[in-house]
Structure formats: structure tokens, C-alpha cells
């Protein structure tokens, strides 16, 4: 195509020709174009289909408020749906396709919806799909979702990266139009730390789209000069392509910087977008205003656009949206469009001005007291029908119509803390209300100052006020001279004539008729109107349509607009890609892994790792010839029980507790007593929550008179530490206790099995015989000259130790243990074998420590000392928690050793109906025990301690198993504990 609608002027770089495609067809544009301006330059008005009726649509606007020109941008994994062509910066090689149309944009089969529009009125879903209820999810919703919609996801993984970041400033200025630039100049010159953010790729706002002067030069030139001055200030940060999307507490704003969206793909290592969190002491909203249309029949024809957009395309991009244009306005600003287009040599067919009287535009057919009552041209505007002041109708041929119903200040961000905008009759628009985000003020059109002079003056004033507020000295520089024309609006929301549909919210296909229907059915409150008609609920949040809908409802109810009120806005101001919200927290980078000290060695062995929280722990270590995980796990269990096994237990939480009150402190946080523990010994401890339920368990060793080392479960390492800090700082601040985590400081290995001592004695410098280092002993040791710690504790039920060395030596330690253990056929076992052995031994872990179980439930009731007060002790004595028929931990075996048990099964008495009333409890953990040669399990069974030896059914509806089991002691293996004391 030859850019047939390209006209002179504009801020595009004509020396740089860019090639792009839309729906497979090739076009050219220039650097500085948007996709919409380039398409319009090439005579393409049809850019999309509407959401509900699949009506042909072209761009309504030239900015981020665009409801219609939504396209797929790029291809493959980078295809992005619902991209507004009006703000998509053109780059060489850009590929765009239309969306929500099949088989093609020009012939869309789903446009049948438009023919059936009388069935798709407001409230259609609510009225139509009432029954049968079961059909809603399975039938209606899928059909509706397929028929109506916007763009499609590629369903491929996003290949790009997204950054997040934090910016601090004295003053955040949102919008770099005349008000924002003036505010930035004032604050920047005063030395304030300023961030000036603008969603456009060129600062200047409307100055880039207008022809009038500022300070004796073209407005765009003044903006360029201002930007140049600001760029030289080290205290000012200019952020183009950056949309401030939300206001949050304490002066924090979120902003999305589109770092690479103007490129075919991001440069290597560069993010596509960055989500900034901006910490500001003060903020000024200078986000300008959005023009609103006037609704009339078929006002959604491609080629009908906002009058301000029409002249923006001409002035900024050198594009005539049509070869013959007309303007329909109710205010003086609309007249500007006609004048500017005429000055550009564009054929202006007529100005249809709803107002009576006043000066006529020279050299232009200015029809006062007239209204556009219809538009024709299904795929592109051909003509408009005008009701003249004399009552006659006239058809005026035109391919573009600019409509101006007035300007709405962009109040959105001021509403993010629920402040409601207030109506200002003189400009017929809502302006920011009181009670907006603290520290945020507005300037320029966003605050209702719609002239250029007003923008500059309020920008200056708000900056001075803000600086004074911050205690910063500032001087008011000269205010550049600029136009200060009143808007002279005579409000008009829609043309009453005509039986067809007149669009209000073009993105969600909401018409004047829909508002009337809502009124007829008594959905007159603005919040009801919004939800009943979906007005303003599309991706543009109704930026061009909301006020129309509210005003029409006000007219129907006979109330004033202020009395009718308005809905408000939520973040984000414009749609934000999920990738930007996720940042780098995705895929393998979702959260950082934690690696154990033996990870490198284990990886060399081909270990299988499992995620335990953020830790990667060895799950099992397969050997040659093992084809299933069970073979590996069985071998590890049997080898450990037969000789010796080694397991990295660094992940267990380790908390160093010191202070003269350390023992007393532990007595309070543990249910059992620790102040009496001898130095050099350790003890199993049970920690309760305040409500008496078990919180965590572990062993705690007394390393000195005022020094303990607590271990926690891996899962609760952080929560226990946090709990202890709370206890120390809040509950008992007078106690002399200091705590710090040492989880990662020590590489700790469990060495378990009959040969554990024999192995360790080879490397530990001290005598660790049973006499010298008895069961539950603890202390500092030397390991080949290296300082270490040794604890004689056992989770597996075997003779076992945990040996610890500084973490940097953990890799060397696992290698030395394996080397020293070679003569004992030592193996490394993973978390699966650990689980098997602890269940064989009847030790509770995750499945039993479920936050809903008491010490009594676990068979540990005697551990809750009544001789002292401790957290949870009192409430653990509640009657309901001490019933004889309460849950008790039991062991479970299948009556038939070949029988399979599944975890989560529920206990049922034989012969009893399988129903909730018969439920006796549930299986918490289940493994295959190679030692016993059958499945074994732990479970909570009502009055379980009285049912040892009883046969019951273990029923699981999920796995569809029903197994006859025998209730046994939870201590399957070495119930007397002879091995661990050996």
C-alpha cells in the first residue's frame, strides 16, 4: 500500500520506513507511527470486531483509552492478544492480526450475533440461562465464551523476561503533558528528586497533537525543550513508555515500563517490561483528559472517531483518517479539529454543531443546531445523515467523522482508594474528588483545567505547593504564554432520534437501549447499571463510555448527574501483562532452591531429588540394576538396618538459644521440661500451640550452662523461629534469651545402623563408645582436626548419631563418611527410606503433625508436663480433647500381607455401613516395610489404644480400595528401643 492518507507534517521520521503486516497484508509506515496511525495512513479503517455483536470496528481514539482497535501483536509464543493498535509503537517487521473474527475480519460468520441483537440485550444471560442449573457450567458458559470474546493466547510459554524494581523520589508526576512538564520543571529546578512518567513513547501529551503555541513556539517544540532541560537534571528521572497503573498505600505507585515492546524482540538479557514500585513522598496526577463521544445510531462505524483523535492523527502523525471528513461536536474543542484538518488541506465536508448561535467557522460548512442521526458504511464510513436545524435531513458523504462530546479528566488513579469523583457542571465532567490517595494532587486536564494555560498554571501551582509541603524552597518560574480558550460546552449525551442502536461502551457493546432497558427493569443505581449492562467492565474500564451511560441514566431517572453518581476505578489503569506481575518468579526461578551440603556429591551419584519446601533433598539414590524406586528404597532401608546408612539432615531447623533464662524459656515453649536437662545431653521436645494442638517436635541439646541448640522439623524451621522470636520479644521480654538460626551454618548428617559407631569412631577424634557418649548424648567434638558436633539421637530406631561440621566441609564430610564406611557397606539413604524407617518405628512426622492433633492423639500425652506452665498446656486439658474415645495413634497392617493399604483410607468397623457415621479415623502415613514384608501405616483411630489387635476395614473412595487391616502398636520395629541404645 502507498500510504494514500499520509499528509504533510507530523512527528514521524519519514527517512525511516518500517515494513509491517496486518492480517497477512504488507504495509509501510514510519518511525514514530503507531500501528493505528500507520494503518490509517494506508487507508485501513477496519481493525477489529466487537466483543458481543462482532460489529466491524475501527479506532475510536488515538490513545490508551481505545476500546475498538484491539489486535494480536506479533506471532508464535510472543503473540499478545488485546493490544491496542493506537498505542502499539510501529517497528520494522511488526506482524499484527485481527481478533474475534472468523473466517476473516471483513467476513465474520459470528456477525450473525448482530442480526440476533434483539435477543442479546442487557441481562440476556441472567434471563436466558436460568435452567437447568447443571447446564450453566457444561453447556451455556462454554458456548458463550466461544462466541464472545477478545483475543486468543498463544498457549506457548512466554519467551521473554520481566523485571521488577523499586524507585524512590520526592515527587512522582504522572503524565508529561503541559501540566506534568511544568510541574517537573518547577520541582526539578528546585532540586527535588522527581520521577516523570508517561505512557507515551514521546513526552508532551496533547502538545504533540495540537497546533497552538506555548511560550511563543510550537507546543511540541516547547515540550521538546522542556524534556531537554529535564534530561540534563541529575535529580529528574524521565520515564517514557511507562504507565502508572495503580496507587497504593503510603505514596506507593506501581508502574509498568515497556522496555522492549517497541522492538521486534528484547535484546539479549533485556526484559520485555519492568514493573516498578515507586515510593513517592508526593505525587501529581497530570494524566490529561479523555474525549468522550456522542451516541447516535450506528456511531460505531469504522471511520467514526473522537474529534481530538482525528486531529491528533493529522497533527502528530501526518495522517488524514479519511479523504473527506466531517466533525460532530457540542463544544468548541471539536471545532479545532475541523480547523486543523482544513489547514492541513483535508477536505472538511461539514461541522455538525449541536449548539445554536455563536460565530461560524470561516471557510467551513458549519451546521449549527444540527445532529448526526445515523451513519452508513458497514465496513467503513461512507456517509452520515444529519438532522439540520430546519428539521430537514441531509446525507453528507464522508469517510471519517470526528465526534466530540466533551472531555473527561482522567481521574482514575485518584479513585484507587475509593474516592468518588465529583461533577463539575461548567465543563460537564467528573473531576477528582476529595479523599483520594494521601499526597496525591492533580494538575492540568486531569484536575479539570482543560486549557493549555490552565494546564501550565496548575502544574506550576501544584509543584510549588508540593515543594512547600516538603519544606523545599522553590521559585515560580515564568509561566509560558498559552491559549486559554473556554471549552464552551453544551452537554449532549446522545441523539434521541432513531430506532437503531447507538453505542456508549463500544468495547463491551453497550448501547443506549441497554441503559434504557436497565432503567425499565429498575437497575438504576450506577453500580447496578454497570453490572446489568456490563458498562465499563471491559479492558478499557469504560474510559470513553462511562459518563455517557451515567448521564443517560440520569436523564431517564430525572435526577442530576451528581445525584446519580459514578462508579469508580480500580488498578490497573490499563491492562498489565501477567508476566510483568510475575517478574522473574516463574518456572524454575519461581523461588530459589536451597541446596544441601551433600548436593554436589549426591548429584554425582545420580540421586533423585525431591522438593521439600525450597530444599532439594535426596529422595533416593538408585543403583545399577534398580528399575523402580521401591527397589532403591527397600535396599536403603535394609542396608541401614543391617549395617549403616547416612542421610543429610541439614534441612532440619537449628536454632541457637542462649542466655541465662534459656532453660526457663524452653520450659515455656516446650510442653516438656528442658531446664533440668544436663549439659551434654539432648532430649526430644514437643511444642504446642496456644490451643493445645501439637505445633512441632524435635530434639534440643544443652551445649552449655546457658546454651541450647534446638532442632525443628524441616517444614517448620522458619515458623518455629518466628514463634520463638514472638515469645521472646512480646510474651516474655524480661527474659534473658537470645536466639539465632544456625540451620545453614552446619552440615549435619545422620549416621544410623548397627555399625554407626564403628564408622564414626574411625573419623571422630574422641572416644564415642556407649560409655563415653551414651544414648542422647551431645557435645562438641573434633573430626580429623575439624571442629564439629555430635548428637546421639535416632529417628530411624537404629543406633544412630547426627554429626555436624561447618557447612563448607559438608561435601568433604559425606565423602569421608562414605570412604570410612566402605568396609561396612555404608549407603546413603534418602527421604523415602527415612520415611519408611520412622513409620516402622512409630515416629510422628508431617502426616501426623497436621495442626489438628494433640499430644494425647499421638500417644505422647504424658510429655505435657503439668508441673509447669507452658504454651498450650492449659488448653490441652480441655475435656473434649481428653476423651477416652478420642483419636489415638495406631499402627496398621493388612491382614493379608499382600494386601495394599492406601494413605488417607478411613477406618470402618467390619459390617458397619460405609458412611460418615461409621468413620473411625484415618490413615495418616503409609509405606511398604521391607523389614516386615508388607504395607504398614500409621493412623488416628478413635479409642485406638483400646483396639489393638482388632480387625477393621481401611476404605478409600479415591483409590477405590477396601482392605481388611489389623490394628497394631505403632511401634512396628524394635518396640523396646534396644537397638538405638546399643
Amino acid at each position: 500500500m502507498n500510504q494514500s492518507n499520509r499528509i504533510s507534517g507530523g512527528q514521524i521520521d519519514r527517512s525511516k520506513t518500517l515494513h509491517f503486516t496486518f492480517d497477512g497484508r504488507s504495509y509501510v509506515g514510519h518511525a514514530g507511527d503507531t500501528l493505528a496511525s500507520a494503518l490509517l495512513a494506508n487507508g485501513v479503517r477496519l481493525m477489529g470486531r466487537s466483543f458481543k455483536y462482532h460489529r466491524p470496528r475501527g479506532p475510536l481514539s488515538a490513545g490508551s483509552e481505545e476500546p475498538n482497535a484491539l489486535v494480536h501483536l506479533r506471532t508464535g509464543a510472543r503473540q499478545e492478544p488485546n493490544t491496542r493498535a493506537t498505542v502499539a509503537e510501529l517497528f520494522d517487521g511488526l506482524h499484527a492480526t485481527s481478533q474475534n473474527a472468523w473466517p476473516s475480519l471483513k467476513f465474520d460468520a459470528m456477525a450473525i450475533n448482530d442480526r440476533l441483537s434483539s435477543f442479546f440485550t442487557a441481562g440476556f444471560y441472567y434471563k436466558t440461562f436460568m435452567w437447568p442449573a447443571a447446564f450453566w457450567e457444561k453447556v451455556y458458559e462454554p458456548i458463550i465464551r466461544r462466541a464472545a470474546g477478545l483475543g486468543a493466547l498463544s498457549k506457548d510459554e512466554d519467551p521473554d523476561e520481566y523485571d521488577k524494581g523499586f524507585i524512590h523520589c520526592d515527587l512522582l508526576i504522572i503524565g508529561a503533558g503541559p501540566a506534568g512538564l511544568m510541574a517537573a520543571l518547577t520541582a526539578g529546578r528546585a532540586g527535588a528528586r522527581v520521577v516523570l512518567a508517561d505512557e507515551d513513547f514521546r513526552m508532551g501529551g496533547r502538545l504533540n497533537a495540537e497546533t497552538f503555541e506555548v511560550g511563543g513556539m510550537a507546543g511540541a517544540d516547547w515540550a521538546s525543550a522542556a524534556v531537554a532541560e529535564l534530561s540534563a537534571m541529575p535529580n529528574v528521572r524521565l520515564m517514557i513508555r511507562t504507565t502508572v497503573v495503580g496507587a497504593f498505600d503510603h505514596g506507593i505507585y506501581s508502574a509498568v515500563e515497556r522496555v522492549s515492546d517497541h522492538l521486534a524482540m528484547p535484546a539479549a538479557g533485556k526484559p520485555r517490561q519492568t514493573l516498578w514500585r515507586i515510593y513517592s513522598k508526593r505525587a501529581i496526577l497530570a494524566g490529561g483528559a479523555t474525549e468522550r463521544p456522542i451516541a447516535f445510531e450506528n456511531n460505531d462505524r469504522p471511520g467514526v472517531m473522537l474529534a481530538g483523535a482525528l486531529r491528533a492523527y493529522a497533527n502528530r502523525w501526518g495522517v488524514a483518517a479519511g479523504d473527506r471528513v466531517a466533525v460532530f461536536t457540542n463544544n468548541d474543542d471539536g471545532l479545532r479539529s475541523a480547523r486543523d484538518l482544513q489547514a492541513k488541506g483535508v477536505d472538511v465536508a461539514a461541522v455538525i454543531d449541536s449548539r445554536q448561535g455563536g460565530d461560524l467557522l470561516p471557510g467551513i460548512r458549519h451546521l449549527q443546531g444540527a445532529q448526526v442521526i445515523d451513519a452508513s458504511g458497514r465496513l467503513g464510513l461512507r456517509s452520515v445523515t444529519v438532522r439540520l436545524a430546519n428539521g430537514k435531513t441531509e446525507t453528507i458523504s464522508c469517510t471519517a467523522l470526528g465526534v466530540s462530546g466533551g472531555w473527561n479528566p482522567n481521574v482514575n488513579i485518584t479513585s484507587h482508594h475509593r474516592s468518588r469523583p465529583e461533577w463539575r457542571g461548567d465543563i460537564a465532567a467528573f473531576v477528582p474528588g476529595t479523599g483520594g490517595p494521601a499526597g496525591l494532587t492533580s494538575a492540568g486536564a486531569a484536575g479539570g483545567a482543560l486549557s493549555t494555560h490552565g494546564a501550565l498554571a496548575t502544574g506550576l501551582a501544584q509543584a510549588l505547593g508540593t515543594l512547600a509541603d516538603l519544606g523545599m524552597a522553590a521559585t515560580a518560574g515564568d509561566l509560558p504564554r498559552a491559549e486559554d480558550a473556554p471549552i464552551s460546552i453544551s452537554p449532549m449525551w446522545y441523539v434521541h432520534e432513531g430506532k437503531g442502536r447507538a453505542w456508549i461502551d463500544q468495547q463491551n457493546d453497550v448501547t443506549v437501549k441497554d441503559v434504557k432497558l436497565a432503567h425499565q427493569e429498575n437497575f438504576t443505581a450506577v453500580e447496578h447499571l454497570k453490572r446489568y449492562t456490563t458498562l465499563g467492565m471491559a479492558t478499557d474500564q469504560g474510559k470513553t463510555g462511562n459518563v455517557l451511560g451515567i448521564a443517560i441514566m440520569a436523564e431517564l431517572t430525572g435526577q442530576s448527574i451528581p445525584a446519580t453518581g459514578t462508579t469508580i476505578y480500580r488498578p490497573p489503569y490499563t491492562p498489565v501483562a501477567m508476566g510483568a506481575l510475575a517478574g522473574r518468579s516463574r518456572g524454575k526461578d519461581f523461588k530459589p532452591f536451597r541446596l544441601t551440603p551433600s548436593h554436589k556429591w549426591a548429584a554425582e551419584q545420580g540421586a533423585i531429588f525431591v522438593e521439600v519446601g525450597n530444599w532439594l533433598r535426596t529422595q533416593w539414590v538408585p543403583k545399577a540394576g534398580e528399575t523402580t524406586w521401591r527397589q532403591s528404597v527397600d535396599r536403603e532401608v535394609l542396608a541401614t538396618r543391617r549395617s549403616v546408612g547416612i542421610c543429610d539432615v541439614t534441612t532440619l531447623g537449628k536454632i541457637d538459644i542462649q542466655g541465662t533464662d534459656a532453660g526457663a524459656f524452653l520450659d515455656k515453649v516446650y510442653a516438656n521440661t528442658f531446664s533440668t536437662l544436663a549439659v551434654g545431653k539432648c532430649r526430644y521436645g514437643l511444642m504446642l500451640r496456644e490451643d493445645g494442638m501439637v505445633f512441632d517436635d524435635g530434639t534440643t541439646a544443652r551445649m552449655g550452662q546457658h546454651e541450647y541448640v534446638m532442632t525443628t522439623t524441616t517444614a517448620n524451621a522458619v515458623t518455629v523461629f518466628r514463634h520463638l522470636e514472638y515469645c521472646r520479644q512480646v510474651l516474655w521480654p524480661d527474659m534473658d534469651v537470645q536466639i539465632i538460626s544456625t540451620t545453614e551454618a552446619w552440615a549435619q548428617f545422620s549416621v544410623a545402623g548397627p555399625n554407626a559407631r564403628n564408622l564414626l569412631q574411625k573419623i571422630v577424634d574422641q572416644d564415642i563408645s556407649d560409655a563415653a557418649f551414651p544414648y542422647m548424648g551431645a557435645g562438641s567434638i573434633s573430626v580429623g582436626g575439624l571442629r564439629g558436633r555430635l548428637f546421639r539421637i535416632s529417628f530411624s530406631g537404629e543406633l544412630a548419631y547426627e554429626i555436624a561440621v561447618p557447612t563448607r566441609y559438608g561435601d568433604a564430610m559425606i565423602r569421608k563418611l562414605m570412604e570410612a564406611g566402605a568396609e561396612f557397606d555404608a549407603i546413603v539413604y534418602g527421604t523415602e527410606a527415612l520415611g519408611v524407617m520412622r513409620i516402622e518405628k512409630g515416629h510422628v512426622a508431617g502426616g501426623e503433625l497436621n495442626g489438628q492433633s494433640t499430644a494425647l492423639n499421638m500417644g505422647l500425652g504424658k510429655m505435657v508436663s503439668k508441673k509447669k506452665d507452658s504454651i498450650g498446656m492449659v488448653l490441652s486439658q480441655r475435656e473434649g480433647m481428653n476423651r477416652d474415645d478420642g483419636y489415638r495413634l495406631v499402627g496398621v497392617k493388612p491382614v493379608d500381607p499382600k494386601g495394599a493399604i492406601s494413605a488417607g483410607s478411613h477406618f470402618m468397623e467390619i459390617g458397619a455401613p460405609v458412611e460418615l457415621a461409621s468413620d473411625g479415623g484415618w490413615l495418616t502415613s503409609k509405606v511398604y516395610s521391607p523389614h516386615l514384608g508388607c504395607d504398614i501405616a500409621l493412623g488416628y483411630l478413635k479409642a485406638g489404644d483400646q483396639k489393638i489387635g482388632r480387625k477393621m476395614r481401611a476404605v478409600n473412595f479415591l483409590t477405590k480400595t477396601d482392605t481388611l487391616v489389623e490394628i497394631v502398636s505403632p511401634h512396628f520395629f524394635d518396640p523396646q528401643g534396644e537397638r538405638l541404645r546399643g
Binding site: H168, G269, K270, P592, F593, H706, I740, T743, A745
Partner: protein, 187 residues
Amino acid sequence: MANAWKSLTALGQDTAQVVVIGPYQISERCDVALASLAVRRGQDAAFASAAQTAGVPLPLPSSYAAGAVFSAFWVTPEMWFVEADFASHQDITAHLKPAFGETASITEQTDAWVRFDVAGTGLSALFERLTNLDLATLPDGFASRTVIEHLGVYLIKHSATQVVLYGPRSSAQGLLHALEVTAKSVI
């Protein structure tokens, strides 16, 4: 205490790694011993005296202070982290405990952390993408706990071109990865 054991760095290597990306140099440090030093209740005066005698600085909140043998930074009320040369103070608590006696609770922290020294011009541009600390305005000698990509870290600003990070040792690779990808996105 000398020993024949081979150590690995937090990144799982035999020697400390240095990564250079544009103007940024990220250096893993394994040669610094670290211990927490907390004053015991009611021992403030004796504690301060012992610190002075031992040459352990006790900087104010959110700050770091260098000393001849021991340097320190504040971590939480009544607690500091003390740095010393690893080669001469591998068992750092053995050096500190005699000096402080029962006035302090001292815990070895050396291997609980990975230390990265991040050096170069333009550190603010790097760290504004990593932490919410306002590095550009923070004074030299500032120290604080902060969060980088889910990881709790201590950050010490020695100068505009020198920042020290202490992050959890088990996530050393993750922290370095965050530094690397961010550095690449900035340059």
C-alpha cells in the same frame, strides 16, 4: 584451627567465583568469618566495655563499622554480626567468647551465609531492581536486612561502588543468578 579438610565454597566450587558483567564485578567471598554477638540482659555496660577491650565496634542501628581485627554491623536490637579474617579466625566464637564471657551470647554464623561483594559504577541501577532500599541516598556504612528475590539478605553499602551482600548459603546459586540476570538487564 588447621585441618586437612577440603572445603567447598557456597557455590559448590573449589575456589571463590568472580563474575564480571559490564561494569559490575560480583565476587564470592569465603575468607571472612562471621559470628552473631548479642548482649545479655542487664549486661550492657560490661558488654560495651568488653567490646571496646576486644576491639569490636558496636555500630548504631542500620550501620556498619570497620575495626582493625573485627568489624561489625547491626542486625537487630542488641545484636550485631562480627566479621574477622577467616584464615586467622576460623573458629571466630573461640576468639570472641573469652573477651565477652557471660555478657554476650555468641554464635558462629560463618557458613550460614554466602557473601558476595558487588562492585562497580552504577550500583543504584542494579540494586533498584533487586531491593527496595534506596541505595542512591543511603550513606556509606549503611547496613540493613532486606529481601532480594524471596531471599532474606543483609546489605552493607561501603561506598557508591562497593556493596556487600550476605545471603542464605543454601541459596547461593539462586542469589547469584538473581544478581547476574539483573546485571545483564541493566547494562
